[in-house]
C-alpha cells in the first residue's frame, strides 16, 4: 500500500479532529470527500508529514516514518498542494517551481526540464516568466499544482485543487489527474463531488473524523436513492452515506 493509515487520532486541544481513522490507498486517483470540519484537511496534513498524529500509525510509500532519514526519503517523493496555498509574489512562475524543486532535493541537472514539463502539464508554460503576483487566482492554483508534481511524486496530495479554476480548466485538470494516477497515488480532497465522479477511481468519505465510506464512485452513487438530496446520483449517494453515518 502507498498509504496505510491505522487507527489515527488527532486532537486540537480537547477537540478530536481525526478519531481512530483507518485508510488504505494505492496507485490511482482517490477522492476525499466530507463536509466542512470533517477532518479532510487534517488528514491531508498528516499524510503530508506536516502534522504528527496523537496516536495510531501511518505508513507512507511502504515506510513507517521513524526517523529523520525516513522522513526525508518520503518527502522526496511527496507532492502537496495545501488548502491555503501561499507563494512568493515576486518570483516568476518558473523560479517558484524551480525553487520548490530544489527544496525537494531533485537532482540539479534534471530540474530545468522537470520544471518546464510541470508547467506544461498545468498549462502555464507560456506564463512561466510572469511574476506569481500577476497571475489570476486560478493560475496561481495551477502553479501550486505544478510545484506539487514537479518531482513526479509517488504520493500526490491535493487539497481543494480546483478552487478558482474555471470549468474548462477543471476538465483539463481532471485529465491531468487521470494521467498522474497511472503511476502515483493521488489523493484529492474536495467539496466538488462532480470532480470526484469524473476523475477518481475510488472515493473515501470522512465525517466527524472517521471514515464512513470507501469505494468506487459508482458505489457511492449507488448508495443514494430518489429521496436523498442532490442534483446528481453521486451527490445523492454522498448525502445518503452521511445521513446513515450520523443516524
Amino acid at each position: 500500500m502507498t498509504v496505510a493509515v491505522d487507527d489515527v487520532t488527532v486532537r486540537y486541544g480537547r477537540r478530536v479532529v481525526l478519531d481512530g481513522l483507518d485508510l488504505a490507498l494505492d496507485t490511482g486517483v482517490h477522492g476525499l470527500l466530507g463536509p466542512n470540519g470533517a477532518g479532510k484537511t487534517t488528514l491531508m496534513r498528516v499524510l503530508a508529514t506536516v502534522s504528527v498524529p496523537d496516536s495510531g500509525g501511518v505508513r507512507l510509500l511502504g515506510s513507517a516514518i521513524t526517523d529523520e532519514k525516513a522522513l526525508r526519503a518520503v518527502r522526496r517523493q511527496l507532492g502537496y498542494l495545501p488548502q491555503t496555498f501561499g507563494f512568493y509574489p515576486r518570483f516568476t512562475v518558473r523560479e517558484f517551481v524551480e525553487y520548490l524543486a530544489w527544496l525537494k532535493e531533485m537532482p540539479a541537472a534534471g530540474i530545468p526540464v522537470a520544471v518546464d514539463r510541470a508547467l506544461q502539464r498545468v498549462g502555464l508554460l507560456d506564463r512561466a516568466d510572469d511574476r506569481m503576483r500577476t497571475l489570476s487566482g486560478g493560475m496561481q492554483r495551477r502553479a501550486g499544482i505544478a510545484q506539487a508534481i514537479v518531482n513526479d511524486p509517488r504520493l500526490l496530495l491535493l487539497d481543494e485543487p480546483t478552487a478558482g479554476l474555471d470549468p474548462e480548466q477543471r476538465v483539463e485538470f481532471r485529465a491531468l489527474l487521470r494521467e498522474l494516477g497511472v503511476d502515483a497515488c493521488v489523493l484529492v480532497s474536495t467539496h466538488l463531488v462532480e470532480d470526484v465522479a469524473a476523475a477518481c477511481e475510488r472515493v473515501s468519505l470522512v465525517d466527524g473524523g472517521r471514515l464512513v465510506f470507501t469505494g468506487t464512485s459508482a458505489q457511492l452513487a449507488a448508495a443514494g436513492g430518489d429521496g436523498d438530496a442532490g442534483d446528481s446520483a453521486i451527490e445523492r449517494g454522498y448525502t445518503a452515506v452521511l445521513r446513515a453515518a450520523r443516524a
Binding site: 511502504g62 522522513l71 526519503a73 517523493q77 512568493y88 523560479e95 532535493e105 540539479a108 541537472a109
Partner: protein, 427 residues
C-alpha cells in the same frame, strides 16, 4: 518500497545553488537591501566628506563609523528575509520538503548580505576614486578596518535572520533595526571602555593611527563567530551553537593584544619651500596649497616681530604639551571638501589666536571675558584682529612700526602671563 535516489544525483551542483542564490538576489529582500545600503552609504559619504576625502586610512575608518547606520539596515534586511515565509503563507508547504530548513535560510541570508555589500560597493568605489585623486599617503595596512565590515554586517544580518524567524511580524524588522541602532550608539559614549572594541561601529579610529592587523583579525573573528552563532540559533541547533558561542566568549576574555600607535609616516610634516613656512602632515598634503593661501598673509604680517610665530604647523603632529614660541599650530582634521579644498577657511584664520594663548595662562580671577569692560580682553581681541588683517581703528591710527611694536609687546606679555602689562596695552 521507497525508491532511493542515488546520492550522487541528489547532491546539488554549485550551478543549482548559484541559480537559487540569483533568484533570491533578484526576488527576495536582497534588491531592497542593496538599494537601501547604497543610498545610506552615499548619503553618509556626502554629508561628511571631510572624514574620508583624500585619506585612504580615513576612508577605511569612516566605513567603521558608518556601521552605526549600516548594521541596523543589514539586520532589518535579514529579519525581513527571514519573515518572508510566514508573510507568504509558505510555512505549511515548506514543512513538507526534504531539504533541511537551514539550506534556504542560509541562502536567503547570503543573498541579502551579499546584496547589501554590493550596495555599499558602488558609493565606496566612487569615494575611492575621489580619494585617489587627492590622497598623498596610504600607510601600512590602511585597508584592515574595512575587512571587519563584511564580518560585522554579516553578523548583523544573521541576527536579523534569527529575530525574523522567531518574530516574523512585519513590524519586527524596523523595530529591531531601531533597537540595534540605539544599542550601537550607547557604547560610543563609553569609548574608553575596553569592551568598546566589541562593537562593529566605532569612531575611535583615526586616519593617522595604525591599528595592527591582528587587532582587526580579532574583531573579524569575533563578528564571524557571532554570525555563525546567530545562524545556528535561528535553526534551533542549540547544542551546535554552543561551539561558536564559546569561541566568541574566549575572544572576549582574550581582548586584542595590540595597542594602536600613531603612524609616523602619516604624521611626517610636509612644508612649503618658501618662508615663512606652512607645514601639514603628509596625509593632508593635498590641502597644503589652500592652507598656505590662508595662513601666509598672517605669517607675513608677523614677520620680523620678535617672539612671534615664524611658521604655522598642523597640530596633529604636535606632541602633548609641546610649546614653541616660533610656531603657530592649526587644526586640519576633517576639513576637506568633496572637491578636495578646505571646508573651513574661517577656522584657519583664527590660527594665530591660539598662538597668542599658547602659554596657557589661567584667566585672572576677576576676568569677566568682556572686551568692553575688561582691558586684558580688549588687548587680546585687538591683537587677534590685527593678526587677521582687520585691526581696530585704535591701532590703524598708529603708524605701522608702532603697530608692530605693540603686537610684539602683546606676545611678550602673553608669554610671560603678565596680565598687568596686557591690561596696560589695551588700545
Amino acid at each position: 518500497m521507497i525508491k532511493q535516489i542515488p546520492r550522487t544525483e541528489r547532491r546539488d551542483g554549485t550551478g543549482m545553488i548559484g541559480r537559487i542564490l540569483r533568484t533570491e538576489s533578484r526576488r527576495g529582500a536582497a534588491p531592497l537591501a542593496a538599494t537601501a545600503c547604497a543610498v545610506a552609504m552615499a548619503w553618509l559619504l556626502v554629508v561628511h566628506p571631510a572624514d574620508w576625502l583624500g585619506h585612504w586610512g580615513g576612508l577605511a575608518v569612516y566605513l567603521r563609523v558608518c556601521m552605526l547606520v549600516l548594521c541596523p539596515l543589514f539586520l532589518a534586511a535579514g529579519a525581513w528575509q527571514a519573515g518572508r515565509d510566514r508573510r507568504a503563507r509558505m510555512v505549511e508547504l515548506l514543512g513538507t520538503v526534504p531539504r533541511p530548513g537551514w539550506h534556504p535560510m542560509i541562502t536567503g541570508w547570503a543573498a541579502v548580505t551579499l546584496a547589501g555589500l554590493a550596495g555599499l560597493a558602488a558609493p565606496l568605489l566612487v569615494a575611492a576614486v575621489l580619494t585617489a585623486r587627492f590622497a598623498t599617503y596610504a600607510g601600512p595596512g590602511w585597508w584592515w578596518p574595512m575587512l571587519v565590515a563584511p564580518a560585522g554586517l554579516g553578523a548583523a544580518s544573521a541576527l536579523g535572520v534569527l529575530i525574523g524567524r522567531r518574530f516574523p511580524g512585519r513590524i519586527i524588522a524596523p523595530v529591531a533595526a531601531l533597537a540595534l541602532y540605539v544599542g550601537l550608539a550607547v557604547p560610543a559614549y563609553f569609548s574608553e571602555s575596553r569592551w568598546a572594541v566589541l562593537s562593529p561601529s566605532t569612531d575611535e579610529f583615526r586616519a593617522y593611527v595604525f591599528w595592527p592587523g591582528t587587532f582587526h583579525a580579532w574583531q573579524a573573528a569575533w563578528f564571524g563567530l557571532l554570525a555563525v552563532t546567530f545562524l545556528l540559533l535561528a535553526t534551533r541547533r542549540w547544542g551546535t551553537a554552543v561551539v561558536p558561542a564559546a569561541l566568541a566568549g574566549t575572544l572576549l576574555v582574550a581582548l586584542p593584544p595590540d595597542e594602536p600607535a600613531e603612524d609616523p609616516g602619516a604624521l611626517t610634516l610636509v612644508c612649503t619651500e618658501r618662508a615663512p613656512q606652512v607645514c601639514v602632515t603628509r596625509i593632508n598634503e593635498f590641502l597644503l596649497d589652500d592652507v598656505d593661501a590662508v595662513l601666509r598673509p598672517g605669517l607675513e604680517r608677523l614677520a620680523g616681530i620678535p617672539g612671534t610665530p615664524v611658521r604655522a604647523v598642523e597640530d596633529t603632529a604636535r606632541r602633548r604639551g609641546e610649546y614653541r614660541p616660533d610656531t603657530a599650530w592649526f587644526a586640519l582634521l576633517d576639513q576637506a571638501t568633496i572637491t578636495g579644498g578646505l571646508s573651513h577657511r574661517d577656522w584657519l584664520e583664527t590660527t594665530f589666536r591660539s598662538s597668542l594663548g599658547d602659554s596657557d595662562c589661567p584667566p585672572p580671577p576677576d576676568s569677566v571675558g568682556d572686551p568692553a569692560v575688561d582691558p586684558l580682553w580688549r588687548t587680546e581681541l585687538a591683537a587677534y584682529l590685527w593678526m587677521e588683517g582687520d585691526p581696530p581703528p585704535e591701532l590703524t591710527a598708529l603708524p605701522v612700526d608702532r603697530q608692530r611694536e605693540w603686537i610684539g609687546r602683546v606676545f611678550a606679555a602673553s608669554r610671560a602671563c603678565d596680565r598687568a602689562e596686557l591690561a596696560r596695552l589695551a588700545p
